[in-house]
């Protein structure tokens, strides 16, 4: 992931380019805008990417590369059929020897693959048809150029088709294509090997069912400096949704190890459904040989760290409107850890969320306690807890917090541990958010954020007496209101997440200006306020 300064630079340049293109842009300004579309894609700034690709298309509708990137934006924002329409026209217009033809045809395959990915029931007619069309789309450019990217997708899709009982088109032999891909890749000079090289090799080895080579190549891939979070996320998606590796015990562990590695990479985000989270939590520890084969000498520690993160997710609850939609996130804390041992049983478990999610009067946008219920989806998605009372609250201009006592005690879930200090502000400082992003099918988001600043010791200057704020940032959107913010190594809660925004967050500690950042309130400052009554 690019660092914050670079990300901001690209965004600013893109906004300026958009303004130019909406006015009287010169030919030079149009040319300068074009590479920004790809840069926005690389930092996953899809909204701005789409706007700029559209603006460039209006000025230069025949620019095939920009049209292809526009299609990629459409795929990555859930509009695969629109992308297919665009790409089919583009492919028809281009000569087969144009390098963009192979790119566009392959992307057409990716669009169909996405439709297959997104299908809840992968055996229904729509999904099967999408799979067939994806195979056909990758087959054509592979036959023409032997490009390993097309080849390895073909291998994966053919293996998948076989797995669900679809007869492969004539003349396509998975093993033979996998071998060709490996030969082709092995012959690639080192200077021409890109960030996908090792991932493609690993996947082709999977096509040969050669687990040992797959693991060895994955290890090289995940430890290579050029491998970024979005690369591993993409490999994971391919392994789970196309290869269905989790159906195989060895493959299941492999996927789990890749998830562990992904979450260690800067800018990582992982979304898991409650059922997946439960399965991972119950899964037996990976065997030592596989830990080391994929994750290297520190594999055991990485894996243990990831398992702790999974365990922590059990104490993260969704706050939802009674029998309705999710409105936020909350998390379990022990009353004694909050200094409430004199008022409540020290071991009673309470839920902390934002005031703007739940508050006594139901002040908008929040709801009153009687209108919401709490569900620990990673443990039991069918058990909803009512709220007995709000034990303590602090308005959004201060801690933006509401501490909820549940009508029935929570059993079998361990509360989250509270960190005794905020992380030191050093270059590599990171924090993690676990929460329920609104309106998503998948319930849990594990998100790596860069810690930008905080008002804690030794140099912080809190602007609001008794309130210590933190700023952190992820490349994608912020977490859900009321999510716990964890320190990066120990999975201890350091803050209550309360606000997210890509732009306009005034900087902390009297520094001038603003930036795009997520904001949280230090848990220690909340505990101090609770103790103060």
């Amino acid at each position: 992931m690019a660092d914050i300064a670079q990300v901001d630079q690209v965004r600013q340049a893109a906004r300026a380019a958009l303004e130019h293109l909406q006015g009287h842009a010169s030919a030079a300004e149009l040319q300068a805008a074009k590479p920004l579309v790809e840069k926005l894609r690389n930092q996953r700034d899809y909204e701005l990417m789409g706007q700029l690709a559209e603006a460039v298309s209006r000025r230069d509708p025949k620019d095939a590369s920009n049209r292809r990137l526009y299609a990629q934006y459409l795929i990555d924002t859930g509009k695969a059929t629109a992308a297919i329409d665009l790409l089919q026209l583009l492919v028809r217009r281009l000569a087969p020897d144009d390098p963009e033809w192979a790119e566009a045809t392959g992307l057409l395959g990716r669009a169909w693959k996405q439709i297959y990915f997104d299908a809840d029931d992968k055996s229904d007619a729509v999904a099967r048809e999408a799979l067939k069309k994806a195979i056909a789309a990758y087959r054509e450019p592979y036959a023409a150029s032997g490009n390993p990217w097309h080849g390895v997708n073909l291998v994966a899709l053919l293996a998948r088709a076989r797995g669900i009982g679809l007869r492969p088109p004539g003349g396509l032999d998975v093993m033979a294509i996998a071998r060709q891909v490996i030969e082709r890749l092995d012959a690639t000079p080192p200077e021409r090997r890109d960030a996908w090289f090792l991932a493609t090799l690993a996947e082709a080895s999977l096509g040969l069912r050669d687990w040992s080579s797959t693991e060895g190549r994955l290890r090289q891939y995940v430890s290579a400096p050029s491998t970024q979070a979005f690369h591993v996320a993409s490999t994971l998606r391919q392994f789970t949704q196309i290869w269905d590796l989790e159906a195989d015990p060895r493959g299941r562990t492999l996927v789990d190890l890749l998830r562990a590695r992904l979450m260690q990479l800067q800018g990582a985000e992982l979304r898991l459904a409650p059922a997946e989270l439960q399965r991972i939590g119950q899964q037996a520890a990976a065997p030592a040989f596989q830990l080391e084969a994929v994750l290297g000498p520190n594999g055991a520690q990485t894996y243990r760290w990831w398992k702790t993160g999974i365990e922590r997710a059990a104490a993260v609850a969704c706050v939802r409107q009674r029998l309705g939609a999710r409105i936020g996130t909350g998390f379990l804390l022990r009353a004694g850890d909050l200094g409430l041992g004199h008022r409540l049983p020290a071991d009673e478990l309470l839920v902390l969320t934002n005031f703007h999610v739940v508050n006594p009067q139901g002040a908008s946008p929040g709801l009153a306690p009687g209108d919401v219920e709490i569900v620990f989806e990673a443990v039991d998605a069918n058990q909803a807890y009512d709220i007995a009372e709000i034990v303590w609250h602090s308005t959004p201009d201060r801690h933006d917090a509401a501490l909820l006592r549940l009508a029935t005690p929570v059993a079998g879930i361990r509360p989250l541990p509270i960190a005794t200090a905020l992380p030191v502000l050093e270059e590599s400082a990171r924090v993690y958010i676990i929460g329920h992003p609104g309106g998503r099918d998948l319930a849990f988001s594990f998100q790596d954020n860069e810690l930008i600043d905080h008002e804690g010791p030794p140099l912080g200057q809190p602007a609001i007496d008794g309130v210590t704020r933190l700023h952190y940032r992820a490349p994608t959107e912020g977490g859900s209101s009321g999510s716990p913010v964890f320190n990066s190594r120990l999975w201890q809660v350091i803050a209550l997440h309360h606000a997210g925004g890509k732009i306009g967050m005034p900087k902390l500690n009297g520094k001038p200006g603003s930036y795009g950042a997520n904001g949280g309130i230090s848990l220690q400052s909340i505990v101090a306020a609770i103790k103060a009554g």
Partner: protein, 311 residues
Amino acid sequence: MAHVTFIHGIANKPPAADLLRIWRETLANAAEPLPLGDLGVSSELVYWADLMYDKPDDNVVAHEGVLENTPAAVDGGGGAAAPQPRSAEEAAFLEALRQRMSGLSDAQMATAPDLPAQPQGTLERVPLPWFLKKPIMDAFLRDVHHYLFDVEFAPNGRPPVPIQKTIRERFIDSICSKTVSRPHVVVSHSMGTVIAYDCLKRVGACAEVDGFITLGSPLGLDEVQDKLQPGWSQDNGFPHERLAGGWVNVYDRLDPVCGFDPRLANDYRKGSAEVIEDIAVRNDGAWRHSITKYLRQPAVADALRRMLQLG
């Protein structure tokens, strides 16, 4: 809040920021993880390799303590040239220190088997080839000599500086920095243990610290102790003047830099009492002096956690 000052040892190192990151991450990834940043513990590194070597080693991976295949990976990077004694005292010092490390001459090392039947020095016992061990000895002799005799030196035509005076200034600046908070612990390795001890015991401007950890220290060698006088004595060598808390010394018996005298409690007493906690550990691999191997030891994390009062 608490603070840790690290100081590195002999031979060339990666750039300061990379070295500090390696030390922090090694502690954070150890079997008993101690992620200082997450625990609100700030840390800084006293870096002095730039005074002795032309430029930092850009092969950062070599310093992560896994491979043992290049001089840089075994604390022998940088190609230190043999120090030239300026007096009979320096010549005797170098000869004695050399004998501690190895009984072989340079010429013998060129042809000697990697593991002789009757080892004459500590390096002979290390199961590594001599093309790796010789640079370690060169770096050790040169760096120790230049510091303890305050040699005016600079690599590659840069203006020479007095090595001891300059490194002391860097150490004192770091120890006295405004960003330091208490409890404040010094974690030192190899030659860094000598520098830290020298400053804590013998430099009046040095601020008080709350804990001292030495890893793979040559402070047990008579030749080194002799050069720490005035200040050091066997009965009162503990740096109580500026060390408010304890001193934990961690060693591996097969670490050649500690020599045959890795324990320090008997040589650095406090009013004749042995107060230093000497802890023996077993690092892995052939090269037992590696800082990352020491930092991964649970005993080190435990000592640091106690000194930082992290509970």
